[in-house]
């Protein structure tokens, strides 16, 4: 049974019960009061009549016989004023109290008549008699019937009103619950952005606000899960693509070499392709292994000198820089920093290598290391081709390459920045890019300084 139906039923039951009990109680108490009044009046009247009858019988006796007898009383009764009353002498089988009453129902043909019968004991000449008087109280019963009729009408109206009230009340009370349940259903159906719109301040309102909080958490979790799944999928797809491309060349050229008689020139070319594509696979597997190992391992954090790090990276970059006729400028403040130096070397090497690839021969690349209020900031600045705005948000995705053919020519696998990003993350830093196409790029990140 629905909650609203339950509430309605409860309201109707309570109203019906209350109205019927109270109504019946009022009607019957009024009735009984009136009846009692009638009985008292009748009893008093009968007592009065008894004494009058006694006196009059004694008076009549003195003129006729010596003792008052039942006959005398009967005679007396037949004269005025007693004729106006319905009186008779009775002889009960058992002795009775002074005044007793009884209500009898007389079926007088078609009509039913209620009468109060008063039996009153009195004594004349040391002899006891009983006088019975009757009084019609049918009016009272009829009145009670009328009252009950009216009451029934009132009762029906009350039930109808309570039904309507209960219905409205339950609708109002259960509206937030229904709204909540609708939201639950929608969320269960996969629409996680739905919230319960319940503004009441009662328990249901509290429940709704807690429910909304839960839904919010759920939505966030689902979103992050979906993002992770999507990233995983993207990664797998890119990985498959990046793996299959060099494999296609290696397998294809090897197959061609073994099946066809090629001119020497083409043989050499095919072998070169196999070599370079094999190298590409090697680079990729190397970077991937490093990326995977970083996913699972905690860095070995130590104190190290910022200048020593910069010098070490400068040394390993010297040859590739010279090849491109580039100048590497070092402007690094020496401080003691906290982190894993070997990882940060890879990070800086990758950033410098990207800068190198983006720069025209003869231009300058700057490695900056400065203290800032937020921490120690490393920045790599080039004056190269820059990164297009729409590519900036994607450059740290694994296998993403802004210019695929150029990157290929340089032997890149599109993993350098994904790796760098991961290393920065392990040091609690994020890579920050500022780039203008044709003007150059600045990549920076913050490290913790060891305070002496």
């Amino acid at each position: 049974m629905k909650l609203s139906a339950k509430i309605t039923l409860a309201v109707v039951l309570i109203v019906a019960l209350t109205v019927s009990i109270s109504g019946y109680a009022i009607v019957s108490s009024v009735f009984h009061a009136q009846l009692k009044h009638q009985i008292t009046a009748a009893a008093e009247e009968t007592q009065l009549l008894c004494s009058v009858l006694g006196t009059m019988a004694v008076e009549r006796r003195s003129s006729t016989s010596a003792r008052v007898t039942a006959e005398t009383l009967e005679e007396t009764l037949s004269i005025a004023p007693f004729r106006d009353y319905r009186l008779r002498l009775v002889q009960p089988t058992a002795p009775r109290d002074n005044v007793e009453y009884d209500i009898v129902r007389v079926n007088d043909g078609a009509e039913t008549v209620y009468e109060v019968v008063i039996t009153c004991r009195f004594a004349v000449d040391q002899k006891e008699y009983y006088l019975e008087s009757r009084r019609d109280v049918t009016d009272l019963y009829e009145l009670r019937g009328q009252y009950l009729g009216t009451f029934k009408l009132v009762y029906l109206i009350a039930v109808a009103v309570s039904l309507a009230a209960g219905f409205t009340l339950s609708a109002v009370l259960t509206a937030p619950i229904r709204s909540l349940s609708r939201s639950t259903r929608q969320i269960a159906g996969g629409n996680y952005s739905v919230r319960a719109n319940v503004k009441t301040s009662d328990e249901i309102g509290i429940l709704a606000s807690q429910f909304n909080r839960m839904a919010g958490e759920l939505e966030q979790h689902i979103a992050s899960l979906e993002l992770a799944t999507q990233q995983q999928k993207d990664f797998t797809a890119s990985f498959a693509h990046e793996l299959k491309t060099p494999l296609t060349s290696i397998i294809g050229y090897a197959d061609t070499l073994r099946s066809r008689k090629l001119p020497e020139e083409q043989q050499f070319e095919a072998a070169s392709f196999i070599f370079s594509e094999g190298r590409r696979l090697e680079t990729m597997s190397h970077s991937l292994l490093r990326l995977f190992s970083l996913e699972n391992e905690e860095p070995q954090m130590q104190r190290f000198s910022a200048l020593a790090l910069a010098k070490s990276v400068e040394e390993s970059m010297a040859y590739p820089m010279k090849q491109r006729q580039l100048v590497l400028e070092l402007r690094v403040e020496d401080r003691v920093l906290w982190g894993e130096q070997s990882l940060l070397e890879i990070l800086l090497y990758n950033l410098l290598d990207n800068a190198r690839k983006a720069s025209q021969p003869g231009s300058k690349i700057t490695l900056l290391g400065v203290r800032t209020p937020e921490g120690y900031c490393f920045a790599v600045k080039d004056r190269g081709m820059g990164i297009p705005q729409e590519a900036l948000s994607r450059i740290t995705e694994p296998f993403y390459m802004v210019d695929k053919s150029r990157s290929r020519a340089e032997g890149g696998a599109g993993l350098g920045l994904a790796l760098s990003q991961r290393i920065a993350q392990l040091h609690g830093a994020t890579l920050h890019y500022e780039s203008k196409v044709g003007r150059g790029t600045v990549v920076s990140f913050l490290l913790r300084e060891v305070v002496k």
Binding site: L247, G252, K404
Partner: protein
């Protein structure tokens, strides 16, 4: 001469396809990105387009939409090899689907079959006095019909498609018997010997020591 456009952004792969198709007697043009390909398609008529899906500029699906109205058959070449990807590619209107990495024999077989289906390749091979009609599956030597079993016929067509190419036993087995090679060399050897005898090709079908066989073409 049958003209084939190769749209592939990976230069080594484009080069590889070009070499092998050229060696099989096709005239090839390469395009390394979608825009170049679109221009070439608009300006020239090709008999077949080999199309990579992930391309810089206009992608493969968009190009397919441009090629389809011209009636030129298209073979997708892609690293995406899932059933879903294949279905999507074929639904988009590609005539066939070649998944990287592929073997040269497979590339040539698919190119031939798509061209033949499109009515752009001859269904008849002629080598010396041997004529093979792939449609009616009739083989004649000096005008006299030669009776071949189904496998012998398939083997013959494979050799004709790959003239002057060393076919490895496992490749032959996988192409003709269409199942994985389990090291059973006798089946291939037996069929090759019967083919030699029936066509009197003892010289043309030469064995390559420990490897397989090669059909010497006229060229």
């Amino acid at each position: 001469m049958t003209k084939i456009l190769i749209v592939e952004d990976e230069k080594p792969i484009a080069n590889l396809i070009d070499w092998n198709l050229s060696a099989s007697g096709y005239s090839c043009t390469r395009a390394y990105d979608g825009n170049t390909a679109a221009d070439l398609i608009a300006e020239h008529n090709y008999d077949l387009v080999l199309l990579d899906i992930m391309l810089p500029g206009i992608n493969g699906y968009e190009l397919l939409g441009q090629i389809k109205p011209t009636g030129t058959p298209v073979i997708f070449i892609t690293a995406k090899g899932s059933v879903q990807d294949r279905v999507q590619g074929l639904r988009a209107g590609a005539d066939d689907y070649l998944v990287k990495p592929f073997e040269i024999v497979e590339l040539i077989a698919r190119v031939e079959s798509v061209l033949r289906r499109a009515g752009k390749a001859s269904t008849v091979y002629t080598l010396g006095d041997v004529t093979v009609d792939t449609e009616s599956m009739q083989v004649t030597k000096a005008g006299v019909p030669v009776t071949l079993t189904r496998k012998e016929f398939d083997l013959l067509v494979l050799f004709l498609q790959n003239q002057n190419v060393a076919l490895f036993r496992e490749t032959i087995y996988e192409r003709v018997w269409e199942s994985d090679y389990m090291g059973d060399t006798r089946t291939v050897d037996l069929h090759v010997q019967r083919l030699r005898k029936k066509l009197d090709w003892q010289r043309r079908l030469c064995a390559i020591h420990k490897v397989g066989y090669r059909l010497e073409g006229d060229g």
